[in-house]
Symmetry: C2
Subunit: 243 residues, 2 copies
């Protein structure tokens, strides 16, 4: 629910963009390979352990970050500790866009995670030379806005069962794109993270999993592997078509 303990930061290194296996998933993929040095020369990489922070809300927005491997949660806190996770970043996703010079949310790895660090200033300079990069960024941010609107519908109007169903299908869909198993789905996050993402409590999430299991909409293999036997029925539930 709240910030987690941090292990000491790892040394900065630098991957080779040319050999980057997730480039086609990231915004860098908009760049013709011949111009890859534009990114390579301003970029550094870093390994993070579970719980380590990429971004602290309120800090000066000096960089944007690409997730290469692992999983990062974006979240906001209320003064009394209530937490809302606004998204999970998978390989190829990025964070760190800021409007007013400071980050408006926090970001923390939930498992061992490798990130690319791109200094904002330098990246903006690249945009001037390579507008296709900025165009891709606009497309991605627009898409994220659309996803955010879906999530508002979920948080404002869906029942617990609908939320959990939508969450599972979503993760399935995104995982597929990056080559994860479609069935069973792997959940890298805890029940607490799922609860904070869906605007529920841990207990309600747990009970909902149990109920879905009882109704044969899902099967659990351990707490982090979910089989979906009847995809259509889960989709109906998630979209609110089920009475």
């Amino acid at each position: 629910m709240s910030p987690e303990k941090c292990s000491p930061a790892r040394a900065l290194t630098s991957r080779e963009c040319r050999r980057c296996e997730i480039r086609h998933l990231a915004f860098c993929g908009a760049l013709d390979p011949q111009y890859l040095d534009e990114i390579q020369t301003i970029m550094q990489t870093k390994m993070l352990g579970a719980g380590e922070h990429v971004i602290n809300e309120g800090d000066e927005a000096s960089s944007v970050f690409n997730v290469v491997s692992g999983c990062v949660k974006l979240y906001k806190l209320l003064p009394d500790g209530r937490c809302q996770i606004t998204g999970f970043l998978l390989p190829g996703d990025f964070c760190g866009i800021a409007t007013d010079g400071t980050y408006s949310y926090s970001a923390a790895a939930i498992e061992p995670t490798e990130i690319c660090i791109l200094p904002r200033r330098k990246l903006e300079a690249v945009f001037v030379r390579r507008p296709e990069l900025e165009r891709r960024l606009l497309a991605i941010v627009s898409h994220e806005l659309s996803v955010a609107q879906d999530q508002m519908l979920l948080l404002g109007r869906k029942t617990a069962a609908e939320r959990v169903a939508a969450f599972l299908l979503n993760l399935c869909h995104r995982g597929k794109r990056i080559g994860w198993s479609e069935n069973p789905i792997h959940l890298p996050m805890t029940r607490a993270d799922i609860a904070d993402y869906l605007g529920l409590t841990i207990e309600t999430v747990s009970r909902t999993f149990t109920a879905l299991k009882k109704n044969k909409l899902i099967q659990l293999q351990g707490t982090g592997e979910v089989m979906i036997p009847k995809r259509e029925r889960l989709i109906e539930l998630a979209t609110g078509e089920a009475a």
Copy 2:
């Protein structure tokens, strides 16, 4: 809660960008006045009555729209009629950005509203010549994403009273920017719209207004004018600092 009846569409006309009084509020403001014709020549304007639609979810995303005057609600529906309003557009705001070729939400005027219509294709052509426009768009969409994240926190984790307080302060802040009265605040939308925006029911919104009034956090002058006597106390409530 649901789509409203539509009166017949008004004739298309064209305002003069050069004399546009809200240009500095809109993304067009990024354009040096000497290039205003780039927009002027591709743009048309239209008057809408209350309830008329700007966008129908699922339609082909052929244009983007600027609000010149009035107020537009953006919303999404579930099959059974549940509605989530994702935002209210005030003069200077725009809508119609789409990722995959079709609109992912609906948009309807909630009072007489004037809009500018910019064909997507033609606008994209302008972007190539005038990258400052696209850059501004990225800044605006990034800001909207940040606002959407705030709204997720509200919908997922705030109480009814906190939601209403946050809503009033928000509208106050946005209204100020476009020259509306700061105190009392004018609410152009119905209780039903407020409910669908805050993920509550009409009854809960109404009761919450009554409760805030009883606690002297607001005063009502009719249903659409709200006085805020002690701004700080309302801010405390809205941000979750109040116990």
